[in-house]
């Protein structure tokens, strides 16, 4: 009977972008069991609704996470708008869609870089982040902030993108797409990458559905859920299909994200060319009274903001369930069977965003 040892992984680890702790039970270098533990950056943001009015809470919602920040603000604003019955003008919806897809692009490029770093391919890591810089420059030119955009508000958006900037973005998309395709080609077709990733961390379709996996983790196993299909913001008018793979291993998750980069570029191109004219926001009168579950597709999966108001300026409950929290059970099922040296790659393949998980 081989001896079992317990190795603690994290919270400080060179490949982890954020602190999560896993206790790995090993038998001679193979993992047989995993116990996760979180709580290292719990900030108690859900209780800040008692101090910040509902219009000011957007700023708090943006700062839950640095990578998916725009979509938290979007989900929160959509929830409040639904409770209060506010209809956002079309131009604001298209602008929100463009910024959401830029967020998704920059998040996936960041993830590709971290993933390459986790595998040991540092040159590819640097190249992915170099491409990400062009997306961040675009975000800064249009919103004023590279990481925290500060443009979504209850009732619309705060800032406009002028027509010359839109034309410039449209022209810059083609060379950018070519560079992204070169990068994606390395991830999809390089033999060393394939050898490292195929067959690792497999999770079947039924398991993924039963455990509640969301986002690319679920889509890589064949479960076709993508909340952009419900048509919030301007997605109802744009043309796209969710990207689904069937293998369920780390390589499939990588393929899903690379293909989503191409799909995002296409969505931005469509939104920029079809942008309608009109006002940017609607005046917000009154206070929210009621409850709603607002759902949005973040780069990592489905995020839910449950908001409840009782007619005063302060909400009574804001519950935020982020996709990484739902992806932890699949992680616990994926890890047994992997070698110790492959654990960072498997953990990174679900794209952990722990600051979201612990708000």
């Amino acid at each position: 009977m081989p001896e079992r040892i317990v190795v603690p992984f994290g919270p400080q680890h060179p490949v982890l972008p954020e602190p999560i702790h896993l206790d790995l039970v090993l038998e001679d270098e193979r993992v047989v069991d995993v116990v996760p533990s979180i709580g290292y950056i719990h900030r108690g943001l859900e209780r800040l609704i008692e101090k910040r009015e509902f219009t000011e809470y957007v700023y708090v919602a943006e700062r839950i996470c640095g990578i998916c920040s725009f979509m938290h603000a979007l989900c929160y604003s959509q929830g409040i708008e639904h409770i209060m019955g506010i209809e956002v003008p079309d131009r604001a919806k298209y602008l929100r869609t463009i910024w959401s897809e830029c967020s998704r692009l920059h998040s996936h490029l960041l993830w590709l870089g971290l993933f390459a770093d986790g595998m040991g391919f540092e040159n590819l890591f640097m190249r992915s982040w170099q491409l990400r810089e062009s997306v961040l420059d675009t975000l800064e030119d249009t919103t004023g902030g590279r990481v925290i955009q500060g443009t979504c508000k209850v009732g619309g958006v705060r800032r406009d993108i002028g027509q010359e900037k839109l034309d410039e973005m449209h022209r810059a998309l083609d060379p950018f797409e070519e560079q992204c395709r070169d990068l994606g080609d390395i991830f999809l077709n390089d033999e060393t990458v394939k050898y490292r990733l195929q067959g690792l961390g497999v999770i079947s379709k039924d398991d993924a559905y039963a455990l509640g996996a969301v986002g690319p983790t679920a889509r890589a196993s064949g479960v076709p859920i993508d909340h952009r299909e419900t048509g919030y913001a301007a997605y109802g008018d744009l043309n796209f299909k969710p990207i689904v793979e069937t293998a369920g291993d780390c390589y499939a998750r990588c393929v899903v994200r690379v293909k989503e980069i191409y799909a995002s570029i296409d969505l931005i191109r469509q939104a920029v060319s079809e942008m309608p004219e009109g006002p940017l926001d609607v005046k917000v009168k009154g206070t929210p009274d009621g409850e709603y579950f607002s759902r949005v597709e973040q780069p990592r999966g489905e995020v839910i903001h449950y908001l409840r108001g009782n007619g005063t300026k302060h909400l009574t409950r804001a519950r935020i369930r982020t996709p990484t929290l739902a992806n932890i059970p699949p992680l616990v099922k994926m890890l047994p069977g992997a070698q110790l040296a492959d654990v960072p790659v498997v953990v990174l393949s679900i794209d952990p965003c722990i600051s979201c998980t612990e708000r």
Partner: protein, 137 residues
Amino acid sequence: MGIFRMTKTVLRNLAGGPATRQYPAVPARRCPLTRGHVAIDPATCRSCGLCSRRCPCEAIRLDKEEKVWEIDRMRCIACGDCVEGCPFGSLTMEQDYFSPVTEHVVERYTITYVKPEKPAKKPAEEGAKEEGVGESA
């Protein structure tokens, strides 16, 4: 061959030079919309208090009798709500970030706005009432 796909990118990068800037020796990239820090023009502020009410972090404090406008730089998140809300245009968003400091910074500005005297109400009299306009503060 399946394993040398990175070669083209590597050669291009070697020929192209470094992609990073030597910040802080070289100034950082800024654009007109960059939200750096909030600046006030004290000569135009009329102490209405809208900026203080709109600030989501309670970083601005206004004292009307003492004519003092304070901003706590460590609480300010540079969201730009105060700049949008000021009806007289005295607040602007500058593009440079506030540099790191070693102690808590609260900046105070004395408001130097002087309300101009109202001109006389009788339009028939020509130049009869000359109250000195705009004395220095």
